[in-house]
Symmetry: C2
Subunit: 144 residues, 2 copies
Amino acid sequence: MGKKHKRSKQRDSILELVRSTVTHPTASWIYDQLKKEISSLSLGTVYRNLNILTEQGVIRKFDFGSTFDRYDADISPHYHFCCERCGSFVDLETPVDEGLNKEIEKITDFKISSHRIEFYGLCDKCLNARKPRELVSSQRFKKS
Amino acid sequence: MGKKHKRSKQRDSILELVRSTVTHPTASWIYDQLKKEISSLSLGTVYRNLNILTEQGVIRKFDFGSTFDRYDADISPHYHFCCERCGSFVDLETPVDEGLNKEIEKITDFKISSHRIEFYGLCDKCLNARKPRELVSSQRFKKS
DNA sequence: GTTCATGCAAATCGTTTGCACAATG
DNA sequence: CATTGTGCAAACGATTTGCATGAAC
C-alpha cells in the first residue's frame, strides 16, 4: 500500500514541466525553471516530489540502480544483469550485438560508437529465497 | 599524450583485486579489502588510482555518464542515446526488443523483467561542430 | 482538526582536492 | 633530484532530512 498523497501546486508543476520536455531534465534544472514561476520553491521540495512521482510510476528516474560507481576489470564488451532485490551486478555471456550500433545510425543522424545493455530482474539466489516467510520488500541495497 | 605514471604498490594491489573478482566492486569495498593488507591505505588513494586505471583503459567504470539523476515522463519502454560530447540524452524511436528478456532467461537462472539500452557516440550537432578550430576534447558536461 | 507538503538549513554520502611528506625512476 | 604517489583532512556537489509552519482534505 502506498501512502496517501495530497495534491500540491508544486508537484503538479513539476510533473507538468517534466512532461513538457524531452530533455530528461535534472532536479536542479527543474528547480531553476520553476523558481521563476513559484518563487518560494525550494530544492528539497523538488527532490521530494520527484521521488514521489517516481515511486508512483508517473515518471522514471535514470540512476543506474545504485549511487556507487562500480568497476570492472573485464574491458571487453559484454552485457550485464542487475538483480533488483540484492543489487548484485553480473556479467552475461551473450555475445554482443555489434550490428545494433549500425541500426541506430540508420534511423538517426548520430555517430554511434558503442552501446550498453543492462537486464533487470531477480537472480537465482533471490528467486529461491522468495517468500520463505515474508518478502523483504524494499531492501535498499548498501555498498560492498 | 597521457601522463607518466610511476608504479605503486597501492595501484598494483587495486588492479589485482579488481581483476580477481567478478562482482564489479565499489570504491569503498576495494578500500575495505585492501585496508587489511595495506593498513596505511587511504580512500583518496583508491579513488585516485581507480581513475587512473579507468583513464588508461585497464578497467572500466560504470557511472552512467553523469553525476545527476535524470528524469523522464515517458514511462513507456524505449532506448536512449547519450552524446559523449555534449551530454545530451535523447529518446530513440527504435522498437523495444521484448524477446531479449526471454533470450537471457534461456541462458541464465534469472527472472528478467526488463532491460535497458543506451547508445553512446556523437549527436548530429556535435558532429557538425567537429573541428571548426579545435576539438574541445574533454569538456566535462555540467548540469542543466 | 488531522494529515501531509513546504521552505529552510543542516546533515549525509560518494567523490575530489590541496598540501606536506614519502617513494619512484 | 625531479617527478609522481600517498595519507590526511577539508572541500565539493548532489541528494536527503529534521523541524516549524502552512495547505489540503
